[in-house]
Amino acid sequence: MSPSIATNQTILVVGGGISGMTAALEAAECGKQVILVERNATLGGRTALMNRYFPKMCHPTCGLEINLRRLKGNRNVRVMTMAEVSSVTGQRGDYTVTLKLAPRYVNANCTACGDCAAAVDAEISNPYEYGLSKTRVAYLPHAMAYPMHYVLDPSIIGTADAGKAKAACKYDAIDLDMQTETVELKVGAIVWATGWKPYDAAKIQPYGYDRFANVITSLEFERLADPHGPTGGKLLRPSDGKEAKNIAFIQCAGSRDENHLRHCSRICCMATLKQTHYVREAYGESGKSTVYYIDIRVIDRLEDFYQKVQQDATVSFVKSKVAKIVEGKDGNPVLHGVDTEGYHRYATAHDLVVLAVGMEPETNGIKLPEDMLLDSSGFIESSQDEGMFGAGAATSPLDVNRSVQSATAAALRAIQVVHKTAAAEGAK
């Protein structure tokens, strides 16, 4: 893409998850020029990696597909994947953005036939499955990928597999000479829809995520439950591949904790309640979910979702923050603690433990423009001069519904900025 297409009336949206797509589309459908940049090889963000969605338990495909259709039908949005913002200078109405584009080694001729993947041998840990499975070095990120093009992992370059992939492609889509590129853009307003990342569970030392195979995160559990996931939707535990029927969920794993994340991640209680449905669906009356919690925090109208789960006899609740996990017989994690309703000491074995990990801003650890206002956990509010805004989970731990609302609001604010810029230019 040539950089001259962008002007200071263009809106840049950083991050192509549900929030970024929404913000980009809302602005574009109002006639604004929008550039949507995504660091990964596909749009969709973390939503695409979930099995089902609360509160309606729908498949993430629905929401994404509607947005992808809107995107394909709109000429005002330009999508750039494998693109990362490396610097922002300037101010409201007049920003210069430098983007770093990583090579995909596959061009737009790709029809997603999959011949390249069939031709190569080497494997990498699958980045879209949190490392739960492997994928070939030529791969499609996932079934809902947009753009629907394969990607070559950079490790393929210089190996025999590179030649094999190129030879296998009938559409001349493989270009092994692609290089990292740097592009500069002029834009008027920027929406940061960079989303969230899971808190590093290994840092919660007493839970032994890094030591015990059968202690996993809630994100990994979503992948296990997904029919397109690494286990074909079966709830198989990592240590021995056996079905996990007696599953513990530990709430606030890394959240509401001065030693980890200070904030309540807000989504994890609902996510766990949702995940107890997966257990019930897999085993009916013979499965068992136990939720260890400080308090269950479900937000306003989602309370009835909680009440329904409470009525499920296969789900029990223990009011206690688990103190520690040790590995017992057959790799069964044993949970130790004291419950708050009666102060009973327990040591309970389960087949599998799911840590409801906290959400922290994806931007923690990267360098943001200097005048950005962040809250005490690093979530983005806006820039001081109100030319850059946060949207979705980049601003606070939000569910999809609230992320979309936040993205629409951010789009409106960005539109106001470029309107003013346009008016000022017209007056000159």
């Binding site: 509401r256 001065e258 030693n259 400080i294 206690s320 103190a323 130790h336 004291v338 419950d339 102060y343």
Partner: protein
């Protein structure tokens, strides 16, 4: 009942939390506890206490003054600091435990004959006298704390270790006669008196 105990009861009536906040070291943290249970489950002595820290904090808030202050629980704390490092609210739990124990002791309602309390008391008396710990006298005081007959039994039981320590020159029998002390003993006494005065002020005892 001791006078200080009567005064405290009269002053705070049913507000034990306020009393703890005023007089117990780090007591103002008690209200920050969110009752998650991590301290209770992390304490290596946990199963042997009557009340875990979590429970004690709730009891304080529920006004269970007698039960808390006469409890043996906070005397069981070994200062391992497991609870402090894990508490998600960063309560200085260990310090509060010691603070409560100290307050109960001061009011004269800490459990009589509680071994940790007795050791602490004897240790302090021993140390404060000369500014140096006289280990021989301290051990003997420990042996004889439950009476003369029991003291002889204890001393006989520990005889082997005592002789071993003497041979290794870790125990000097001459210490029984006076023993080593700080050069400026009076200075030490003044320092302790000053420290006490500061603490009385800080913990609002004056």
């Amino acid at each position: 009942m001791s006078d200080s105990n009567k005064q405290a009861i009269a002053h705070y009536r049913n507000n034990f939390l306020k009393e703890v906040e005023d007089h117990v070291e780090d007591g103002e943290w008690v209200r920050m506890c969110m009752q998650c249970g991590v301290c209770a489950g992390s304490c290596p002595f946990g199963p042997h206490w009557e009340h875990s820290p979590q429970k004690i904090f709730m009891m304080i808030r529920a006004g269970k003054r007698e039960e808390v202050l006469s409890s043996d629980s906070m005397w069981m704390c070994t200062s391992c600091y497991n609870c402090i490092v894990r508490c998600p609210r960063k309560l200085p739990i260990t310090h509060i435990m010691h603070g409560l124990a100290h307050y109960a002791h001061r009011l004269g309602i800490a459990p009589k004959g509680q071994p940790t309390r007795e050791i602490a008391r004897l240790f302090w008396v021993n140390l404060a006298r000369t500014g140096r710990v006289n280990e021989l006298k301290f051990s003997l005081a420990m042996y004889f704390k439950d009476g003369f007959v029991q003291g002889i039994k204890n001393a006989l039981a520990m005889q082997g270790i005592g002789i071993g320590l003497m041979k290794a020159r870790r125990l000097n029998p001459m210490e029984l006669l006076g023993g080593h002390k700080c050069k400026d003993k009076d200075g030490i006494h003044k320092m302790i008196a000053k420290a006490r005065e500061i603490e009385e002020r800080k913990q609002k005892f004056v």
